[in-house]
Symmetry: C2
Subunit: 374 residues, 2 copies
């Protein structure tokens, strides 16, 4: 079965403020290397592990307010492959819309179903081949066992910022291990995180999924019944447009997202569904969750500072600094700070408060005198 | 006797980096209020406490490399009243040059001498009347007792960053107290500073002086004999120009400063001279020695932060922040820091390391990759 890739690019990346802003989300930033995370994801999505004659279709779901930022990237993709969500409604409506689009596209071309690989646009996955090995196993599991398949990333530290997947019964007959999912666990406290790491049967949930569009549509309608009506309406309109090769006008998406409930696909579908499997993924991966995570990819100086850009440090230790091209950050005698200087804004916070940057951004956005900086 | 004012404006103010730069010294900054410190000093210098018919002449001695910065202020002063020192030779040559200029000017107008008030250009002295009350007493002492008179500022804390003046025998018959100087003390350690503060007979030396030009010239030639030759040569050239109302061309100053030794007027003249008096000065005064001193003039928020410009602080305490117009500094959970964001540069250092900013600036200046920021 043909597999299309859907890249979810609607995130805002508040934890990279002030490099990320409302109009410049994390996925358009070049956090590692020259390419933006989205360009890197697009390149990875298009990779063909075997020459099976298929050309891979890639679709991007992004937020309307980020359209300028995406267009500024000059992405090598037909604009018709990008769907702009008119409002933020979390991941279930986004995946539902993509699923309906895949089904309309399949039917317009005489197919009954499609496999879909859904992945975030802002993760760092340097080994494309290893990534696709896991995708292939996931595709086999999705097809042969009719499962919604999640990628289970190796737990390497007792991280409290991620959701966890607990594996159940092994699924046999695949080229590498696969399991039914016993249970999803939300972000744990430190103690639970440590026991998850020890147990060996837990994985990080990275939000990478493989499933058949038809199967996902069934599960969506079963577990989030408020989506059924809007999906039926959307499906009719999409099928017409795909058959006649017409442009899908924004009003179609507006009607759907307006009617859809705001709910995550994890909570809405994966947790209640009985047909969920996990494929362990051991490829190098980082969600680049914030400045601390970013700093791990920067070289360390003799005093443990990890910096990018023009940074002068005198008696300063273990700081993480990002200074935009053309600007200088000078540190004198400080330690364990995050200092980010981008354009008209500078952030200073302790390394161990990196997770609270989101909170600061939210406070900044609602304060009229500062909103323009966020 | 007519009194002219000489403002010494050659300082660089490295401790206010990155607001101050090589090309934008402290005295041209508007650190308190709208006016630059130099404009404020000029206004104070021109103040006439009594209508004695004299128009006060004010002269500015500045560094050649700061000419652009001074001109950008659009100072309300005849450019002929500004002498640009072609190179830094400390305060004795600067005061010697000013003294010779005063004498030439006096002679050109048929006078034999002038009183001179010499003061820095970058101090904060909010009460002009109180300042001039002290100047008047100093002028009486300089004339009647033939003394080089220094201003002795009230010691209000055991400051280790200033030089001290120890008073000796009282001079009687003046409208307020005046003393001969027993001894000058260089910047003390903490213990000595505390005993100076307790003793009651010590003052801070603020570098404000009143003396007769003729007397200062004699003392300069006596105690810094290397200055005698250059001063004689300078005097002849200046007298000619002042008589004929010609412009004093830069080459004249170049020859003098080239030939002059580099030495401070404190070390070269005031310390060895037998004719030095001190007039206690109780007017409000600050040398605005750096960001900590500056912060005392800013309002304090509920958590003890003192800031200027756009500053968003979340769980941040006792920080000193300067953010240039149009830029934002966001603090999250940090305390006791100095954060200064000006144009293309940001400084982060602990409040108790403010004195080391000079050192950082010096390191920055000699590093080719950073020199442009200093």
């Amino acid at each position: 079965m043909r597999m299309d890739v859907v890249i979810l690019a609607g995130g805002s990346g508040e934890r990279f403020w002030p490099l990320s802003r409302s109009c410049r989300p994390k996925q358009v930033l070049s956090l590692i290397g020259e390419e933006s995370l989205l360009e890197d994801t697009l390149r990875r999505a298009r990779f063909l592990p075997t020459d099976d004659g298929d050309e891979r279709q890639v679709w991007i779901l992004a937020a309307r307010r980020q359209q300028d930022a995406l267009e500024s990237l000059d992405l090598d993709i037909d604009p018709g492959q990008i769907v702009y969500e008119p409002m933020a409604k979390n991941t279930a409506p986004a995946i539902a819309a993509a699923t309906e689009l895949m089904l309309a596209d399949a039917r317009a071309e005489g197919d009954s179903d499609r496999l879909m690989l859904v992945c975030p646009s802002d993760h760092h996955v340097p080994d494309t081949k290893a990534f696709w090995s896991t995708v292939e196993v996931a595709a086999e599991v999705a097809l042969r066992e009719r499962q919604l398949v999640t990628f289970g990333l190796t737990v390497t530290r007792p991280e409290t910022g991620y959701g966890y997947i607990e594996r159940g019964e092994a699924l046999s007959g695949f080229s590498s291990p696969a399991f039914r999912v016993q249970r999803f666990h939300e972000k744990p406290d430190q103690e639970n995180a440590r026991s998850y790491q020890k147990s060996g049967s837990f994985y990080w949930n990275a939000g990478i999924f493989v499933f058949s569009a038809l199967h996902m549509r069934e599960e969506l309608c079963r577990h989030v019944p408020e989506l059924a009506g809007p999906l039926d309406a959307l499906g009719g309109e999409l099928l017409e447009r795909r058959k006649s090769k017409e442009v899908i006008e924004p009003a179609i998406w507006e009607r759907f997202f307006e009617a859809a409930p705001s709910i995550s696909v994890d909570y809405g579908v994966f947790e209640p569904s009985d047909d969920v499997a996990v494929v362990p993924a051991s490829f190098p991966w980082s969600d680049l969750g914030g400045w601390t995570s970013w700093s791990e990819y920067q070289e360390e100086d003799a005093r443990g500072n990890r910096t990018a850009g023009a940074v002068l440090s005198v008696d300063a230790k273990r700081n993480t600094v990002y200074s935009e091209d053309g600007g200088l950050v000078a540190l004198l005698g400080v330690q364990d700070l995050i200092v980010v200087r981008v354009g008209d804004a500078t952030l200073v916070c302790p390394r161990d408060k990196a997770q609270e940057i989101r909170q600061l951004v939210r406070e900044g956005k609602i304060d009229a005198s500062f909103a323009r900086f966020f």
